[in-house]
Symmetry: C2
Subunit: 330 residues, 2 copies
């Protein structure tokens, strides 16, 4: 008997255990073209919070009283498709459960010969790496020599941004919460780090480490970080707005005290979603694989054990619970 996490009520603000229920899923035979996958790694990502809300968004909301979805890596254990045989390692969106039954067309076989870990497909080679890559290089048009500021720099996306930027010859300033995370962000290459949890104004902290201003801001959190980035922007700075974790669970309006500087410094602020870049996935895979193999990218994971721990892992994303990619091992 397999199990899956159901969304049973929509969170108001920060999600709690009461919003989720782990339910048995009756076994059913495969239809033609389907595969059965035993999940080994399931991913929790901040964007999932948006899918827990009702209403139109760029991805459809999770249905109530149905299993949730998310990135997962597993092993095919039964196949009714000529494209897969038992033992194949695969990447797919049937996460939040220990066993997934999916049409083969929605499942991607992992290349065996790349010499990267299975979990990389949920991290640096997965959604976080992909989002970091195109946000930095395409949306923010970051180029060698730029001074790049990135928030949530110890997170899955942020730590990818730090390292891609360094590998491409940029100066990087990261923001993270607490001395341990800040030390790690410096370890993976950031030229300077600010601890947003330390007392004092974010603008003043950023000014101290960015005496020459910033050219690029990669935003994962919104709110005060966005305002501070505007305050320190050089002329024609470019902002890639990837996430606003500071307000996904409520917290009111974004307060921009430095808004007029958007004009004065001719700042370009642009939101984006990874799926807009699907067609350019091969370009990303090649570039990121090269960086991984060359050792220029270090990965780090925060791992929770067992499907039962999944809501805790997810909620931890919003309370600083992870350094690097947050994963659940099944």
């Amino acid at each position: 008997m397999s199990q899956a996490w159901y969304l049973v009520s929509r969170p108001a603000g920060m999600p709690t255990m009461e919003n989720f229920a782990l339910r048995d899923v009756p076994a059913s035979p495969l239809a033609a073209g389907e595969v059965r996958i035993a999940n080994r790694w399931v991913s929790v990502d901040p964007y999932m919070r948006g899918r827990m809300n009702e209403g139109k968004s760029y991805v459809p909301p999770y249905a109530l009283d149905a299993p949730m979805e998310g990135g997962a890596v597993g092993e095919v254990i039964e196949s009714a498709s000529s494209d897969f045989v038992p033992g194949d390692k695969v990447l797919h969106m049937g996460g939040w459960r220990d066993e997934a039954v999916l049409p083969a067309t929605e499942v991607e076989k992992l290349p065996a010969d790349l010499g990267v870990s299975d979990t990389a497909w949920l991290g640096m080679l997965g959604l976080p790496g992909f989002t970091a890559w195109f946000g930095l290089l395409s949306i923010a048009s970051a180029k060698p020599g730029d001074i790049v500021f990135v928030s949530a720099a110890a997170g899955a996306v942020g730590s990818a941004v730090v390292q891609i930027a360094k590998a491409k010859g940029m100066t990087v300033i990261g923001s993270a919460g607490g001395p341990e995370k800040c030390a790690w962000v410096r370890e993976i290459g950031a030229d300077a780090v600010i601890d947003y949890k330390e007392e004092g104004s974010l603008v003043r902290k950023l000014r101290t480490v960015a005496p020459n201003g910033i050219d690029v801001y990669y935003d994962n959190v919104g709110g005060d970080h966005l305002d501070a980035a505007i305050a320190l922007s050089n002329d024609h700075a470019r902002f890639a707005i990837c996430g606003m974790t500071s307000i996904y669970n409520g917290g009111g309006a974004t307060q921009l005290r430095y808004a007029p500087k958007i004009i004065g410094s001719r700042i370009r602020i642009e939101g984006f979603i990874y799926s807009d870049f699907e067609a350019r996935r091969p370009e990303f895979l090649q570039g990121m694989t090269e960086l991984l193999k060359s050792g220029k990218i270090t990965t780090r994971e925060t791992i929770h054990e067992g499907l039962a721990a999944m809501p805790d892992a997810f909620i931890g994303l919003f309370s600083g619970g992870n350094t690097g990619k947050m994963l659940v091992k099944i």
Copy 2:
């Protein structure tokens, strides 16, 4: 004896008469290469408020106890330059005074044969028209078929945006304050108008007239209008951030309740300054002159009489004192 307006103290919030002093300027002989101009029309524009503050901005601040600058149209009355003779009509930045002495290199002769009014050079063919043109067509990449929202639509820049957009085949929604201005905005071609002074939420008002959302927002005011534009944005909407008159005189932080939609709708928000487009002035002059001649652009002016009235005219820009271009006739 000529006179000029001096900035004698920096305004805190809304400027008052106490910040300005009208002083006699002793006559001095022309140096080689200079011209003396009797100003006929002097311009007041919202951007001047920024120059009254201390500190770094995209244009240097006005010096204290010195004559202010600004756009002006006048007539050469004395020339020590071979490029000008008395009687030449000219455009220059020696405003805020009745007589200007300038190097000929800083003075532009008005083409005599265009068949446009002298004041057009401070309006549709001047800074406001120029700013409207490149903000709409270049920064916001507006194209035929787009639904364009423009704030301060009865102002000098806004009324230019409305008419350029209509002439180029866009649908236009304007925002203005009060029934009279709203009626005029509809008269010059807007498909719909909202009165921001009427009771009720700006988001709800905009939703009513933009049931299919907006593709472009031309921002002259910032604040609630910016937030409402984000709320109603279609995917890949483009915002040209030209001005934030709602906060030039204080008023606290910009509150964006809909900030996360910058991501969901992949909005591009970009600030700009007219001077970034100086090199493309010929393209603008040709396009705008054609529109003026074809009758597709209506101009309207709010005129104060006499140099003494200039601070009042300027302050009026921030309290809804003008419909169309605000000018002072000398």
